[in-house]
Symmetry: C2
Protein backbone atom coordinates (compact mmCIF):
# COMPACT_ATOMS: atom_id res chain seq x y z
CA UNK A 1 0.00 0.00 0.00
CA UNK A 2 1.42 3.33 -1.08
CA UNK A 3 1.89 6.29 1.20
CA UNK A 4 2.26 9.95 0.51
CA UNK A 5 5.28 11.96 -0.44
CA UNK A 6 5.42 15.72 -0.02
CA UNK A 7 8.29 17.70 -1.51
CA UNK A 8 8.13 20.97 0.36
CA UNK A 9 9.65 24.39 -0.27
CA UNK A 10 10.37 26.13 3.02
CA UNK A 11 11.15 29.51 1.47
CA UNK A 12 14.22 31.65 2.11
CA UNK A 13 14.45 30.85 5.80
CA UNK A 14 12.04 33.17 7.55
CA UNK A 15 8.82 31.76 9.03
CA UNK A 16 7.03 34.78 7.59
CA UNK A 17 7.86 33.59 4.09
CA UNK A 18 6.62 30.00 4.47
CA UNK A 19 3.25 29.43 2.79
CA UNK A 20 0.30 27.93 4.69
CA UNK A 21 0.35 25.10 2.13
CA UNK A 22 3.91 24.22 3.20
CA UNK A 23 2.96 24.34 6.88
CA UNK A 24 -0.03 22.07 6.28
CA UNK A 25 2.15 19.57 4.45
CA UNK A 26 4.66 19.62 7.31
CA UNK A 27 1.82 18.96 9.76
CA UNK A 28 0.72 15.88 7.81
CA UNK A 29 4.07 14.14 7.42
CA UNK A 30 5.74 11.75 9.85
CA UNK A 31 9.25 11.47 8.40
CA UNK A 32 11.32 14.45 7.20
CA UNK A 33 14.23 14.04 4.84
CA UNK A 34 16.53 16.87 3.82
CA UNK A 35 19.81 18.69 3.99
CA UNK A 36 20.49 19.29 7.67
CA UNK A 37 20.10 23.10 7.78
CA UNK A 38 16.63 22.80 6.21
CA UNK A 39 15.46 19.90 8.37
CA UNK A 40 16.70 21.84 11.40
CA UNK A 41 14.36 24.70 10.57
CA UNK A 42 11.26 22.57 11.15
CA UNK A 43 9.28 22.83 14.35
CA UNK A 44 8.07 19.27 14.75
CA UNK A 45 5.78 17.36 17.10
CA UNK A 46 7.23 14.53 19.21
CA UNK A 47 5.96 11.81 16.83
CA UNK A 48 7.60 13.43 13.80
CA UNK A 49 11.07 12.24 12.85
CA UNK A 50 13.97 14.08 11.18
CA UNK A 51 16.37 12.23 8.86
CA UNK A 52 19.01 14.82 7.97
CA UNK A 53 21.72 14.26 5.40
CA UNK A 54 24.57 16.18 3.81
CA UNK A 55 24.34 18.05 0.56
CA UNK A 56 25.52 16.30 -2.62
CA UNK A 57 23.49 13.29 -1.41
CA UNK A 58 20.25 14.34 -3.08
CA UNK A 59 19.55 11.21 -5.10
CA UNK A 60 20.25 8.81 -2.22
CA UNK A 61 18.06 10.94 0.04
CA UNK A 62 15.26 10.98 -2.51
CA UNK A 63 15.35 7.19 -2.83
CA UNK A 64 15.33 6.68 0.93
CA UNK A 65 12.31 8.96 1.28
CA UNK A 66 10.44 7.20 -1.55
CA UNK A 67 11.12 3.79 -0.01
CA UNK A 68 9.62 5.04 3.25
CA UNK A 69 6.57 6.48 1.46
CA UNK A 70 6.11 3.28 -0.59
CA UNK A 71 6.05 1.51 2.75
CA UNK A 72 2.83 3.36 3.56
CA UNK A 73 4.10 6.36 5.48
CA UNK A 74 3.48 10.07 5.08
CA UNK A 75 6.89 11.41 4.17
CA UNK A 76 8.26 14.88 3.50
CA UNK A 77 11.36 15.88 1.61
CA UNK A 78 12.20 19.49 2.45
CA UNK A 79 14.16 22.09 0.51
CA UNK A 80 15.00 25.69 1.28
CA UNK A 81 13.41 28.13 -1.14
CA UNK A 82 11.44 26.34 -3.83
CA UNK A 83 11.91 22.57 -4.23
CA UNK A 84 11.80 22.84 -8.03
CA UNK A 85 14.75 25.24 -8.36
CA UNK A 86 18.11 23.43 -8.02
CA UNK A 87 16.61 21.40 -5.21
CA UNK A 88 14.91 18.14 -4.31
CA UNK A 89 11.92 17.92 -6.70
CA UNK A 90 14.12 16.95 -9.67
CA UNK A 91 16.03 14.40 -7.57
CA UNK A 92 12.73 12.83 -6.47
CA UNK A 93 11.48 12.64 -10.08
CA UNK A 94 14.80 11.14 -11.17
CA UNK A 95 14.57 8.50 -8.43
CA UNK A 96 10.98 7.68 -9.40
CA UNK A 97 11.94 7.25 -13.04
CA UNK A 98 14.86 4.96 -12.17
CA UNK A 99 13.01 3.01 -9.46
CA UNK A 100 10.53 0.13 -9.49
CA UNK A 101 7.22 0.69 -11.30
CA UNK A 102 5.22 0.87 -8.07
CA UNK A 103 7.03 4.06 -7.10
CA UNK A 104 5.00 5.81 -9.80
CA UNK A 105 1.84 5.07 -7.81
CA UNK A 106 2.97 7.10 -4.81
CA UNK A 107 0.80 10.08 -4.05
CA UNK A 108 3.30 12.85 -4.79
CA UNK A 109 2.63 16.46 -3.89
CA UNK A 110 5.15 19.18 -4.61
CA UNK A 111 4.64 22.37 -2.61
CA UNK A 112 6.24 25.47 -4.16
CA UNK A 113 7.98 28.17 -2.16
CA UNK A 114 9.64 31.56 -2.50
CA UNK A 115 12.98 30.82 -4.13
CA UNK A 116 16.16 32.71 -3.16
CA UNK A 117 16.38 34.93 -6.22
CA UNK A 118 12.89 36.31 -5.58
CA UNK A 119 13.68 37.07 -1.94
CA UNK A 120 16.98 38.74 -2.85
CA UNK A 121 15.38 40.68 -5.70
CA UNK A 122 12.66 41.99 -3.36
CA UNK A 123 15.31 43.31 -0.97
CA UNK A 124 17.27 45.00 -3.73
CA UNK A 125 14.44 46.52 -5.79
CA UNK A 126 13.37 44.78 -8.98
CA UNK A 127 16.47 43.41 -10.71
CA UNK A 128 14.42 40.56 -12.23
CA UNK A 129 11.88 43.00 -13.63
CA UNK A 130 12.64 41.95 -17.19
CA UNK A 131 13.67 38.67 -18.88
CA UNK A 132 16.04 36.71 -16.66
CA UNK A 133 17.56 33.30 -16.13
CA UNK A 134 18.69 31.13 -13.25
CA UNK A 135 21.93 29.18 -13.51
CA UNK A 136 23.51 26.88 -10.96
CA UNK A 137 27.22 27.64 -10.90
CA UNK A 138 27.99 24.21 -9.50
CA UNK A 139 30.05 22.08 -11.86
CA UNK A 140 29.41 18.93 -9.85
CA UNK A 141 26.68 17.81 -12.24
CA UNK A 142 27.63 19.56 -15.48
CA UNK A 143 30.88 20.56 -17.12
CA UNK A 144 32.25 24.06 -16.57
CA UNK A 145 32.38 24.71 -20.32
CA UNK A 146 28.61 24.32 -20.48
CA UNK A 147 28.15 26.77 -17.60
CA UNK A 148 30.36 29.33 -19.32
CA UNK A 149 28.51 28.84 -22.59
CA UNK A 150 25.20 29.49 -20.83
CA UNK A 151 26.51 32.56 -19.01
CA UNK A 152 27.67 34.08 -22.29
CA UNK A 153 24.51 33.12 -24.18
CA UNK A 154 22.32 34.63 -21.47
CA UNK A 155 24.28 37.84 -21.03
CA UNK A 156 24.72 38.23 -24.77
CA UNK A 157 20.96 38.04 -25.29
CA UNK A 158 20.26 40.59 -22.53
CA UNK A 159 19.00 38.33 -19.76
CA UNK A 160 19.56 39.24 -16.12
CA UNK A 161 21.31 36.26 -14.51
CA UNK A 162 20.62 34.80 -11.07
CA UNK A 163 23.42 32.51 -9.92
CA UNK A 164 22.63 29.73 -7.47
CA UNK A 165 25.39 27.77 -5.71
CA UNK A 166 27.91 30.47 -6.62
CA UNK A 167 30.78 29.26 -4.46
CA UNK A 168 31.80 26.67 -1.88
CA UNK A 169 35.01 25.35 -0.32
CA UNK A 170 35.15 22.67 -3.01
CA UNK A 171 34.35 25.17 -5.80
CA UNK A 172 36.41 28.28 -5.01
CA UNK A 173 37.27 29.65 -8.48
CA UNK A 174 34.07 29.34 -10.49
CA UNK A 175 32.42 32.61 -9.48
CA UNK A 176 35.54 34.66 -10.24
CA UNK A 177 35.78 32.97 -13.62
CA UNK A 178 32.11 33.76 -14.28
CA UNK A 179 32.67 37.47 -13.53
CA UNK A 180 35.68 37.44 -15.80
CA UNK A 181 33.80 35.79 -18.66
CA UNK A 182 30.84 38.13 -18.31
CA UNK A 183 33.10 41.19 -18.21
CA UNK A 184 33.98 40.50 -21.82
CA UNK A 185 30.43 41.22 -22.92
CA UNK A 186 28.77 43.30 -20.19
CA UNK A 187 29.72 46.88 -19.25
CA UNK A 188 31.90 47.18 -16.12
CA UNK A 189 29.12 49.32 -14.64
CA UNK A 190 26.60 46.43 -14.72
CA UNK A 191 25.15 46.07 -11.20
CA UNK A 192 25.85 42.83 -9.36
CA UNK A 193 23.81 42.00 -6.26
CA UNK A 194 25.21 39.71 -3.60
CA UNK A 195 22.15 38.60 -1.65
CA UNK A 196 23.08 36.60 1.41
CA UNK A 197 20.48 34.94 3.64
CA UNK A 198 17.66 37.25 2.46
CA UNK A 199 14.93 37.55 5.07
CA UNK A 200 17.02 35.93 7.81
CA UNK A 201 18.61 37.67 10.80
CA UNK A 202 22.07 37.42 9.20
CA UNK A 203 20.87 38.93 5.91
CA UNK A 204 23.40 40.96 3.93
CA UNK A 205 22.62 42.57 0.59
CA UNK A 206 25.52 44.21 -1.22
CA UNK A 207 25.64 45.84 -4.63
CA UNK A 208 28.84 46.23 -6.65
CA UNK A 209 29.47 47.01 -10.26
CA UNK A 210 30.75 44.11 -12.32
CA UNK A 211 34.20 45.67 -12.65
CA UNK A 212 34.54 45.55 -8.85
CA UNK A 213 32.63 42.35 -8.10
CA UNK A 214 34.82 39.77 -6.34
CA UNK A 215 34.11 36.12 -5.64
CA UNK A 216 34.84 36.56 -1.92
CA UNK A 217 31.77 38.79 -1.64
CA UNK A 218 29.68 35.57 -1.87
CA UNK A 219 29.44 32.43 0.21
CA UNK A 220 27.33 29.27 0.03
CA UNK A 221 24.25 31.11 1.34
CA UNK A 222 24.44 33.83 -1.31
CA UNK A 223 22.38 34.23 -4.46
CA UNK A 224 24.21 36.49 -6.92
CA UNK A 225 22.15 38.51 -9.40
CA UNK A 226 24.00 40.02 -12.34
CA UNK A 227 22.12 42.75 -14.17
CA UNK A 228 21.83 43.25 -17.89
CA UNK A 229 23.16 46.31 -19.70
CA UNK A 230 19.74 47.90 -19.01
CA UNK A 231 19.70 47.36 -15.23
CA UNK A 232 19.71 50.63 -13.29
CA UNK A 233 20.69 51.80 -9.81
CA UNK A 234 18.71 54.47 -7.96
CA UNK A 235 20.68 56.15 -5.16
CA UNK A 236 18.75 57.04 -2.03
CA UNK A 237 19.78 59.14 1.00
CA UNK A 238 20.19 57.05 4.13
CA UNK A 239 18.69 53.98 2.42
CA UNK A 240 20.22 51.22 0.31
CA UNK A 241 20.20 51.90 -3.42
CA UNK A 242 17.39 50.36 -5.47
CA UNK A 243 18.44 48.13 -8.35
CA UNK A 244 15.92 47.47 -11.07
CA UNK A 245 15.65 46.28 -14.63
CA UNK A 246 13.15 48.33 -16.65
CA UNK A 247 10.10 46.56 -18.06
CA UNK A 248 10.88 47.77 -21.54
CA UNK A 249 13.89 46.98 -23.68
CA UNK A 250 15.09 47.96 -27.12
CA UNK A 251 17.81 45.35 -27.51
CA UNK A 252 20.19 48.04 -28.76
CA UNK A 253 23.51 48.47 -27.01
CA UNK A 254 24.13 52.05 -25.96
CA UNK B 1 5.93 63.60 5.68
CA UNK B 2 6.54 60.31 3.87
CA UNK B 3 4.35 57.26 4.24
CA UNK B 4 4.93 53.65 3.48
CA UNK B 5 4.68 51.75 0.25
CA UNK B 6 4.33 47.98 0.14
CA UNK B 7 4.65 46.13 -3.16
CA UNK B 8 3.07 42.80 -2.42
CA UNK B 9 3.14 39.46 -4.20
CA UNK B 10 -0.12 37.61 -3.65
CA UNK B 11 1.09 34.30 -5.09
CA UNK B 12 -0.64 32.21 -7.76
CA UNK B 13 -4.16 32.89 -6.51
CA UNK B 14 -4.77 30.43 -3.70
CA UNK B 15 -4.92 31.72 -0.11
CA UNK B 16 -2.82 28.70 0.88
CA UNK B 17 0.03 30.05 -1.20
CA UNK B 18 0.08 33.59 0.21
CA UNK B 19 2.92 34.14 2.69
CA UNK B 20 2.26 35.49 6.20
CA UNK B 21 4.53 38.42 5.28
CA UNK B 22 2.15 39.34 2.45
CA UNK B 23 -0.87 39.07 4.73
CA UNK B 24 0.80 41.27 7.34
CA UNK B 25 1.58 43.89 4.72
CA UNK B 26 -2.03 43.80 3.51
CA UNK B 27 -3.22 44.29 7.09
CA UNK B 28 -1.05 47.42 7.47
CA UNK B 29 -2.04 49.26 4.31
CA UNK B 30 -4.99 51.59 3.80
CA UNK B 31 -5.00 52.01 0.01
CA UNK B 32 -4.63 49.15 -2.46
CA UNK B 33 -3.58 49.70 -6.06
CA UNK B 34 -3.47 46.97 -8.65
CA UNK B 35 -4.84 45.25 -11.69
CA UNK B 36 -8.50 44.54 -10.94
CA UNK B 37 -8.36 40.71 -10.67
CA UNK B 38 -5.57 40.98 -8.07
CA UNK B 39 -7.18 43.76 -6.04
CA UNK B 40 -10.42 41.75 -6.09
CA UNK B 41 -8.66 38.86 -4.35
CA UNK B 42 -8.05 40.88 -1.19
CA UNK B 43 -10.23 40.47 1.86
CA UNK B 44 -10.22 43.96 3.26
CA UNK B 45 -11.55 45.73 6.33
CA UNK B 46 -14.11 48.51 5.91
CA UNK B 47 -11.50 51.29 6.29
CA UNK B 48 -9.30 49.82 3.54
CA UNK B 49 -9.79 51.14 0.01
CA UNK B 50 -9.34 49.45 -3.37
CA UNK B 51 -8.18 51.43 -6.40
CA UNK B 52 -8.31 48.95 -9.27
CA UNK B 53 -7.01 49.67 -12.74
CA UNK B 54 -6.60 47.89 -16.06
CA UNK B 55 -3.45 46.12 -17.18
CA UNK B 56 -1.03 48.03 -19.42
CA UNK B 57 -1.43 50.94 -16.97
CA UNK B 58 1.39 49.86 -14.66
CA UNK B 59 3.44 53.06 -14.68
CA UNK B 60 0.46 55.36 -14.12
CA UNK B 61 -0.73 53.08 -11.32
CA UNK B 62 2.70 53.06 -9.71
CA UNK B 63 2.87 56.87 -9.78
CA UNK B 64 -0.59 57.24 -8.29
CA UNK B 65 0.31 54.88 -5.46
CA UNK B 66 3.59 56.68 -4.75
CA UNK B 67 1.83 60.06 -4.66
CA UNK B 68 -0.56 58.65 -2.07
CA UNK B 69 2.31 57.21 0.00
CA UNK B 70 4.29 60.46 -0.25
CA UNK B 71 1.20 62.11 1.18
CA UNK B 72 1.74 60.15 4.40
CA UNK B 73 -0.44 57.11 3.83
CA UNK B 74 0.25 53.39 4.12
CA UNK B 75 -0.21 52.18 0.55
CA UNK B 76 -0.03 48.77 -1.09
CA UNK B 77 0.53 47.93 -4.73
CA UNK B 78 -0.46 44.32 -5.32
CA UNK B 79 0.62 41.82 -7.96
CA UNK B 80 -0.32 38.23 -8.57
CA UNK B 81 2.60 35.83 -8.12
CA UNK B 82 5.78 37.68 -7.29
CA UNK B 83 5.87 41.47 -7.72
CA UNK B 84 9.41 41.33 -9.10
CA UNK B 85 8.64 39.03 -12.05
CA UNK B 86 6.99 40.90 -14.93
CA UNK B 87 4.93 42.79 -12.39
CA UNK B 88 4.67 45.97 -10.36
CA UNK B 89 8.02 46.21 -8.52
CA UNK B 90 9.89 47.34 -11.65
CA UNK B 91 7.15 49.86 -12.50
CA UNK B 92 7.37 51.31 -8.98
CA UNK B 93 11.17 51.60 -9.23
CA UNK B 94 10.87 53.23 -12.64
CA UNK B 95 8.37 55.74 -11.26
CA UNK B 96 10.63 56.52 -8.31
CA UNK B 97 13.61 57.11 -10.59
CA UNK B 98 11.61 59.45 -12.84
CA UNK B 99 9.78 61.22 -10.02
CA UNK B 100 10.68 64.05 -7.64
CA UNK B 101 13.67 63.48 -5.31
CA UNK B 102 11.47 63.12 -2.22
CA UNK B 103 9.94 59.94 -3.64
CA UNK B 104 13.26 58.24 -2.88
CA UNK B 105 12.64 58.83 0.84
CA UNK B 106 9.49 56.72 0.87
CA UNK B 107 9.71 53.66 3.07
CA UNK B 108 9.47 50.99 0.36
CA UNK B 109 9.00 47.33 1.20
CA UNK B 110 8.75 44.70 -1.52
CA UNK B 111 7.18 41.42 -0.41
CA UNK B 112 8.08 38.42 -2.59
CA UNK B 113 5.61 35.70 -3.54
CA UNK B 114 5.37 32.37 -5.31
CA UNK B 115 5.57 33.26 -8.99
CA UNK B 116 3.48 31.40 -11.61
CA UNK B 117 6.28 29.30 -13.09
CA UNK B 118 7.08 27.82 -9.68
CA UNK B 119 3.43 26.94 -9.03
CA UNK B 120 3.05 25.39 -12.48
CA UNK B 121 6.34 23.51 -12.19
CA UNK B 122 5.27 22.06 -8.83
CA UNK B 123 2.07 20.72 -10.39
CA UNK B 124 3.89 19.18 -13.33
CA UNK B 125 6.94 17.66 -11.57
CA UNK B 126 10.24 19.49 -11.75
CA UNK B 127 10.60 20.99 -15.23
CA UNK B 128 12.72 23.86 -13.82
CA UNK B 129 15.08 21.42 -12.12
CA UNK B 130 18.04 22.61 -14.14
CA UNK B 131 19.09 25.98 -15.61
CA UNK B 132 16.09 27.92 -16.86
CA UNK B 133 14.92 31.34 -17.94
CA UNK B 134 11.78 33.42 -17.79
CA UNK B 135 10.71 35.47 -20.79
CA UNK B 136 7.69 37.71 -21.18
CA UNK B 137 6.22 37.05 -24.60
CA UNK B 138 4.55 40.43 -24.65
CA UNK B 139 5.87 42.70 -27.36
CA UNK B 140 4.19 45.76 -25.90
CA UNK B 141 7.42 46.90 -24.26
CA UNK B 142 10.08 45.28 -26.43
CA UNK B 143 10.37 44.43 -30.13
CA UNK B 144 9.42 40.95 -31.29
CA UNK B 145 12.84 40.46 -32.87
CA UNK B 146 14.44 40.75 -29.45
CA UNK B 147 12.03 38.18 -28.02
CA UNK B 148 12.81 35.75 -30.81
CA UNK B 149 16.55 36.31 -30.36
CA UNK B 150 16.20 35.52 -26.65
CA UNK B 151 14.10 32.41 -27.27
CA UNK B 152 16.71 31.05 -29.66
CA UNK B 153 19.66 32.00 -27.45
CA UNK B 154 18.04 30.33 -24.42
CA UNK B 155 16.96 27.16 -26.19
CA UNK B 156 20.25 26.91 -28.05
CA UNK B 157 22.18 27.03 -24.79
CA UNK B 158 19.97 24.37 -23.16
CA UNK B 159 17.83 26.50 -20.86
CA UNK B 160 14.30 25.45 -20.02
CA UNK B 161 12.06 28.42 -20.89
CA UNK B 162 9.12 29.73 -18.87
CA UNK B 163 6.91 32.05 -20.90
CA UNK B 164 4.88 34.70 -19.13
CA UNK B 165 2.16 36.67 -20.92
CA UNK B 166 2.08 34.08 -23.70
CA UNK B 167 -1.06 35.27 -25.47
CA UNK B 168 -3.90 37.78 -25.31
CA UNK B 169 -6.59 39.13 -27.60
CA UNK B 170 -4.24 41.92 -28.67
CA UNK B 171 -1.30 39.50 -29.12
CA UNK B 172 -2.74 36.42 -30.82
CA UNK B 173 0.17 35.19 -33.01
CA UNK B 174 3.26 35.49 -30.82
CA UNK B 175 3.03 32.16 -29.04
CA UNK B 176 2.59 30.20 -32.28
CA UNK B 177 5.56 32.04 -33.74
CA UNK B 178 7.60 31.19 -30.65
CA UNK B 179 6.80 27.46 -31.01
CA UNK B 180 7.72 27.65 -34.68
CA UNK B 181 11.05 29.35 -33.97
CA UNK B 182 11.92 26.92 -31.19
CA UNK B 183 11.03 23.92 -33.36
CA UNK B 184 14.00 24.77 -35.54
CA UNK B 185 16.42 23.99 -32.72
CA UNK B 186 14.59 21.77 -30.21
CA UNK B 187 13.44 18.19 -30.85
CA UNK B 188 9.73 17.83 -31.66
CA UNK B 189 9.47 15.58 -28.61
CA UNK B 190 10.45 18.40 -26.23
CA UNK B 191 7.77 18.58 -23.52
CA UNK B 192 5.71 21.77 -23.32
CA UNK B 193 3.61 22.44 -20.22
CA UNK B 194 0.56 24.67 -20.38
CA UNK B 195 -0.08 25.62 -16.78
CA UNK B 196 -3.29 27.52 -16.36
CA UNK B 197 -4.39 29.02 -13.04
CA UNK B 198 -2.15 26.70 -11.02
CA UNK B 199 -3.49 26.23 -7.50
CA UNK B 200 -6.85 27.80 -8.29
CA UNK B 201 -10.18 26.00 -8.68
CA UNK B 202 -10.05 26.39 -12.45
CA UNK B 203 -6.53 24.97 -12.68
CA UNK B 204 -5.63 23.08 -15.87
CA UNK B 205 -2.21 21.57 -16.49
CA UNK B 206 -1.63 20.07 -19.94
CA UNK B 207 1.52 18.59 -21.42
CA UNK B 208 2.15 18.35 -25.15
CA UNK B 209 5.26 17.71 -27.16
CA UNK B 210 6.59 20.74 -29.03
CA UNK B 211 5.59 19.26 -32.40
CA UNK B 212 1.95 19.25 -31.24
CA UNK B 213 1.92 22.37 -29.07
CA UNK B 214 -0.61 24.94 -30.29
CA UNK B 215 -1.07 28.54 -29.25
CA UNK B 216 -4.77 27.98 -28.51
CA UNK B 217 -3.78 25.67 -25.64
CA UNK B 218 -2.85 28.83 -23.69
CA UNK B 219 -4.75 31.89 -22.56
CA UNK B 220 -3.87 35.00 -20.55
CA UNK B 221 -3.83 33.03 -17.29
CA UNK B 222 -1.38 30.42 -18.59
CA UNK B 223 2.32 30.10 -17.91
CA UNK B 224 3.94 27.99 -20.63
CA UNK B 225 7.07 26.01 -19.76
CA UNK B 226 9.11 24.65 -22.66
CA UNK B 227 11.59 21.95 -21.74
CA UNK B 228 15.14 21.57 -22.93
CA UNK B 229 16.38 18.61 -24.97
CA UNK B 230 17.11 16.91 -21.62
CA UNK B 231 13.62 17.31 -20.10
CA UNK B 232 11.91 13.98 -19.49
CA UNK B 233 8.35 12.70 -19.09
CA UNK B 234 7.47 9.91 -16.65
CA UNK B 235 4.18 8.18 -17.45
CA UNK B 236 2.07 7.11 -14.48
CA UNK B 237 -1.06 4.93 -14.35
CA UNK B 238 -4.15 6.91 -13.41
CA UNK B 239 -2.08 9.99 -12.60
CA UNK B 240 -0.81 12.87 -14.71
CA UNK B 241 2.66 12.35 -16.17
CA UNK B 242 5.59 13.88 -14.30
CA UNK B 243 7.78 16.24 -16.32
CA UNK B 244 11.25 16.97 -15.01
CA UNK B 245 14.62 18.26 -16.09
CA UNK B 246 17.50 16.25 -14.64
CA UNK B 247 19.92 17.98 -12.30
CA UNK B 248 22.87 16.92 -14.40
CA UNK B 249 23.66 17.90 -17.98
CA UNK B 250 26.38 17.07 -20.45
CA UNK B 251 25.62 19.74 -23.00
CA UNK B 252 25.92 17.13 -25.76
CA UNK B 253 23.04 16.73 -28.17
CA UNK B 254 21.90 13.12 -28.46
Amino acid sequence: MSGRLFVIGLGPGNANQVTPEANHAVAEAEFFYGYKPYVDRLELKPHQIRIASDNREELARAKEAIVKAADGHAVAVVSGGDPGVFAMAAAVCEAIEEGPAEWRDIDLQIVPGVTAMLAVAARAGAPLGHDFCAISLSDNLKPWDLIELRLLAAAGAGFVIALYNPISKARPWQLGRAFEALSAILPGTTPVIFGRAAGRPDERIEVASLAFARADMADMATCVIIGSAETRVIKRNGKPALVYTPRSATGRRE
